[in-house]
Subunit: 245 residues, 2 copies
């Protein structure tokens, strides 16, 4: 737990890294209380604001939580799947939107991973998952739905599919792939016809999962992937044509 005064990095970054290492290595276990800000300041020989900046960095990653009051302080946080989902989605979304990732590449990644879940989903799906899928299909079928809401429902449907695999680690990993693509999907204008095609495929996927038929689910997912890809390419082509004007 030492700092390098010659390091180009901020003191607060170094302190955050030092504490993060202690957490990752297991020296600081879940719910352990860190020393108070004053004690940390004394230990690292820096001022309290500097320590606070370091703690805020860790808080931003959900590594610690803070509590005010006499028995308060900073505690090592048990990273929940819920929190991890959130960070994962933010990161994935930004990664896709900032790096000119082509629609094709993102689409391929998403459907490749989703197809991997399908056999597990077919084997393990419960009533909850089927209900969620049915609910989203019903929502998508409302003609008055805005394109954005249609997309959101699409994402929700696919998350239900992934969750049906009943593996939280898988759900977590795929959250980014599925939700991160939403901004890209939002660029698509869904006609009544394309909506119908997508809903029909969703229904086929759900039927296959209900029947515990992994092969049929995979086939429908492949079709959906192809169809989505086509839609995306049309949008990109239209944008390119408009840009050329």
């Amino acid at each position: 737990m030492k700092l390098d005064p010659d390091s180009p990095k901020d003191l607060s970054a170094q302190i955050a890294a030092a504490i993060r290492d202690e957490i990752v290595s297991g020296k600081l276990i879940v719910d352990a209380r860190l020393p108070s800000e004053s004690e940390l300041a004394e230990h690292f020989a820096v001022s309290r604001p500097t320590v606070r900046e370091a703690l805020k960095r860790l808080a931003a990653q959900s590594l610690i939580r803070t509590q005010r009051g006499a028995t308060g302080g900073a505690f090592v946080n048990r990273l929940s799947f819920e929190q991890a989902y959130g960070q994962q989605i933010t990161t994935s979304t930004l990664l896709l939107s900032m790096n000119e990732v082509s629609f094709d590449v993102a689409c391929e990644a998403r459907f490749t991973l989703e197809r991997a879940c399908a056999p597990l989903a077919a084997a393990r799906r419960g009533a909850v998952h089927l209900d969620r899928m049915a609910f989203e299909i019903a929502r998508q079928s409302q003609p008055t739905l805005s394109d954005e809401d249609f997309c959101a429902s699409d994402v929700a449907f696919h998350r239900a599919l992934v969750d049906a695999a009943c593996n939280p680690v898988l759900s977590y990993q795929l959250a980014g792939a599925v939700e991160g693509m939403q901004p890209l999907m939002n660029m698509i204008t869904f006609t009544a016809r394309s909506r119908g095609a997508i809903i029909a495929l969703h229904a086929r996927i759900m039927a296959a999962i209900t029947a515990r038929n992994a092969t049929a689910a995979d086939a429908a997912l492949i079709e959906l992937a192809d169809y989505t890809l086509t839609l995306g390419r049309d949008v990109m082509a239209a944008r390119a044509a408009r840009a050329a004007d």
Copy 2:
């Protein structure tokens, strides 16, 4: 860009959230310069240390970078795949180690996702990927290698396999699944016999990828998944027995 004074959250958390929203929504684009800390403090009607805590939160997520000097300031950062990998791996590792995720579940997630990459890897692998795989197989074959180094090499081999799919989004998503499992794998003591079995399977996988034979690669991956699962279960059983003493 307003704050809610009655919110239970810290001011710095609210400010960070406000700026994060501007970035995610695209109102602040890559390389855009944020107002100076003093200006932000005035705008949000808070003190500069509070603004700084907010900025450090964003910096911890690689959403901004800061620069000192006359033309310095905080700039919206282009989130690179490299940085995203790092965060992804830290989060995944902590998620697995803090939530008593069973070896089985993590293993299933990892191999399910990896198997999904295999067909793409078989189709697109380049010489670089094959070289990396060969290099890691050679490394693993050194009998003097520590268990930890063997694990690290195992992870590197599988990353090469994933990268061979030539889809950066896929590589990013799988970084967490593959690397996050390393601490769990590190609990395993690899005997000479189990190392031999793993290396043989790695060789089979590499041969299949080299021959662009997706089916053979999948079969070898399934065997490796089963074998890893068995090893893990033995370790867990031994631990449980020891705990019962």
